[in-house]
């Protein structure tokens, strides 16, 4: 639509450029306002007192008497700390597991031909396409059979389905892009395959590893289907489900706390993102552009 208007206005090139720039900035500003509205409103809500929230007279978008009481309540709530700890535990273990599994497998698949390797590569891709919501019911039975329902270790067991296929996929792409001359030279020097992986591939593909790690981290931090299905008591809950199901307290006004809790829970991925944005984006795009 914008392009069409621009076509009609084909005056001098300069005017067209300025017009394009102007549209670009206006669109970006509008998009930013809309995109940032929910998190900003969550922040506003988390700073309001209960009485101010219950008051329908004023403008809901401004805070008259900012308070940190909800944050204090949340941070002092032992449950919330348990959620945080559970999230960290599950996420860290899952990330380490997934990275080990996927780096090893990706190296083998990218560099070592063996019987069925092509099938396996396609298989990895197919498993990536299987959404978690397709299999959570049989997994519920399986995890239940192992006695791991309502147990964070049950989550650690199933989370690799979310992370491993994609991480492997990214890593295959990164490893494949490393020039073959490097490993030929290493082989002639008498290096073994594991040495080659550790001394050459991992250092060279470090950006890819960081990107995959960030991916695994954000995915396990944000996982929702498995914990809602498998975890039932607050002491085993990770943050996402803990905030959603435990802080939403029946019919009393806990919105300030809910929003404070949600914002705190969203903080780790946001921090990672703020500091490692380029890796984050590289990981995002690698899946489809390099795959």
């Amino acid at each position: 639509m914008q392009a069409a208007t621009m076509g009609r206005r084909s005056g001098s090139l300069r005017a067209e450029r300025r017009w394009a720039l102007w549209t670009a900035y206006v669109s970006l500003i509008i998009a930013c306002v809309i995109f940032l509205m929910p998190p900003v409103y969550m922040l506003i809500t988390s700073l309001k007192t209960n009485a101010e929230m219950a008051n329908l007279q004023g403008n809901p978008w401004i805070v008259l008497n900012p308070t940190l009481e909800h944050y204090r309540a949340i941070v002092e709530n032992p449950l919330f700390l348990t959620f945080f700890w559970n999230s960290i535990k599950v996420t860290v273990v899952t990330v380490i597991l997934s990275m080990v599994i996927s780096v090893l497998a990706a190296f083998a698949l990218a560099r070592m031909r063996f019987w069925g390797s092509q099938w396996l590569a396609t298989g990895v891709f197919l498993t990536y396409l299987v959404p978690d919501t397709l299999l959570f019911i049989p997994l519920y039975q399986i995890v239940g059979g192992l006695g791991l329902l309502n147990n964070t270790w049950g989550l650690v067991l199933v989370y690799p389905t979310l992370t491993v296929p994609f991480c492997t996929w990214i890593m295959i792409g990164y490893f494949a892009s490393i020039p073959k001359e490097l490993d030929e030279a290493a082989l002639i020097d008498g290096a073994s395959w594991p040495q080659m992986l550790i001394k050459i591939f991992i250092p060279v593909a470090l950006p890819g590893i960081i990107a995959a790690t960030i991916f695994a981290f954000t995915v396990s931090w944000a996982a929702f289907v498995y914990p809602t299905a498998f975890i039932t008591t607050p002491d085993q809950m990770p943050l996402t489900i803990g905030v959603v199901s435990t802080l939403v307290r029946g019919d009393t006004f806990a919105w300030g706390q809910i929003m404070a809790g949600a914002l705190l829970a969203a903080l780790p991925p946001v921090i990672v993102y703020a500091f490692l944005m380029d890796y984050y984006i590289a990981g995002l795009t690698a899946g489809a552009t390099k795959g």
Binding site: A54, G144, G147, L148, N150, T232, T233, T252
Partner: protein, 450 residues
């Protein structure tokens, strides 16, 4: 290698859990006894603390550890927990079961006839509805709980009711053991006219019509007061040619046309917010809404008065959402668990629970409907006097989808078939017969899969 690690760690986790259970011997009185309880996460904030305190008190006296978790019913988390624990045969020893769940899981619950026998000898009979739900097939499978058990009478903004509908609700239902003038006119017809008047005035009644318990329970009470059943005791569908059902549906449709246009998605909290914000003249709710209003919007809280549900041709019924304390049959501490529950059900402890929850909790024994808290809570003092059943109400507790067999009723209840029926007529403009056709098909599906 890393895969091995998963299983090892997983096994380790499982191992810890098993060791925990095994090391708790069934011998009562050993200091190592651990009872794991999953109670309902109370909506009146102090409600959890009192249970935790009582459990600690009993544990100290009996040298036992009591682990207490609170499981919310928001988003049906409690149903999820019940399903998961029944599925995996592990979890808590004692769990809170709402309405139909004890009967639905009766094969996995420990018989508590002995405890109930002792309690009824002390305190007399329990509310019939609680007996009906907790004693399927003649045996008690769970103990009607104090904490969490609630009724859903009307919480009225008496100022708005007077102003717009001309009804002095406080005179009609004073905080005394007598009905005031006009109490006999407090029926669904009067109610519907008041709903119209308040809607015109911009303060519509806040009656949820979604799929959560507040919605299903108030509509269930209305249906009960018309004698409208959709399924009989043997599971036969009684939708067709049912004049009572049609009359109840007509009234429900009439009322729901006077509600805000988004009640169809309201959850158990939406009606409370409608009241607390001052936008609504009446909701059906236990006192938690009033308690929140007293804290967050005192001006509104001071204008609330709880009164019985309007009556219908077959009498007056009030929506009843009981919780039951059940003991799983896979528990290894069944004896101590029974003792603990008996302790929590005693009059003194029941009074403590009801009093700290601002009168929210309804004890199962009729003899306990005289706790002091209901007369003294305020402002305005006496606002929850008519919350428990009083003799002059001539009311009975109602359970939606009774008298259908529990394993079928539980599904109809959890799927909120009654509110969806009304929604089809009012919101989707289906004819009553079309909607009945749909209801019959849904009930048939439940029967086939049952």
């Amino acid at each position: 290698m890393s895969k091995l690690e998963v299983t090892r760690r997983a096994a380790l986790g499982a191992g810890v859990a098993t060791v925990g259970t095994l090391s708790a011997p069934a011998v009562f009185g050993q200091p190592t006894t651990t009872i794991r309880c999953g109670f309902w996460d109370h909506w009146v904030p102090a409600g959890n603390d009192v249970l935790r305190r009582l459990c600690a008190q009993w544990g100290e006296r009996n040298r036992a550890n009591i682990n207490v978790d609170f499981i919310t019913s928001v988003g049906n988390q409690n149903l999820l927990t019940i399903a998961a624990q029944a599925q995996s045969r592990s979890g808590h020893d004692i769990l809170s079961f709402p309405t139909w769940e004890p009967a639905a899981h009766q094969r996995m619950l420990v018989n508590v006839d002995d405890v109930m026998g002792r309690l009824t000898r002390k305190y007399g009979p329990v509310t019939p509805a609680a007996e009906y739900l907790g004693k399927p097939g003649g045996n008690w499978v769970a103990i009607p709980a104090v904490s969490g058990t609630q009724m859903k009478p009307a919480c009225v903004r008496f100022d708005l009711m007077q102003q717009h509908a001309g009804i002095d609700i406080r005179a009609m239902w004073p905080a005394e053991n007598r009905a005031g003038p006009g109490a006999d006119t407090w029926n669904w017809d009067t109610f519907a006219r008041a709903a119209e008047a308040c809607n015109r005035a911009g303060v519509p009644f806040g009656l949820p019509m979604g799929s959560f318990t507040d919605a299903v329970d108030w509509l269930g009470a209305l249906f009960a007061s018309y004698g409208a059943n959709v399924m009989d005791e043997r599971g036969n569908i009684t939708v067709r040619n049912n004049a009572n059902l049609r009359a109840a549906v007509d009234m429900a449709v009439r009322i729901s046309r006077q509600l805000p246009n988004d009640v169809w998605a309201w959850d158990d909290a939406s009606n409370n917010r409608a009241l607390i914000s001052g936008r609504s003249a009446l909701i059906f709710n236990p006192p938690s809404a009033w308690v929140s209003a007293r804290r967050d919007n005192p001006a509104v809280g001071a204008q609330c008065w709880t009164v019985p549900v309007p009556s219908g041709p077959q009498g007056r019924f009030v929506g009843y959402l009981p919780y039951f304390w059940g003991i799983w049959n896979f528990s290894r501490v069944q004896g101590p668990a029974k003792e603990l529950l008996e302790f929590l059900s005693d009059r003194e402890q029941a009074d403590a629970q009801t009093s700290t929850s601002a009168g929210y909790d309804i004890p199962p024994f009729l003899s306990m409907n005289d706790f002091n808290v209901w007369s003294t809570e305020g402002p305005p003092v006496g606002t929850v006097y008519n919350y428990p059943l009083r003799a002059h109400h001539n009311a009975r507790t109602s359970v939606a989808f009774a008298p259908a067999p529990a394993n079928l009723a539980v599904q109809a209840y959890n799927q909120a078939l009654n509110t969806k029926l009304i929604a089809r007529i009012v919101q989707a403009n289906e004819s009553v017969d079309q909607a009945f056709g749909w209801l019959e098909r849904e009930l048939n599906t439940i029967r086939r899969g049952g």
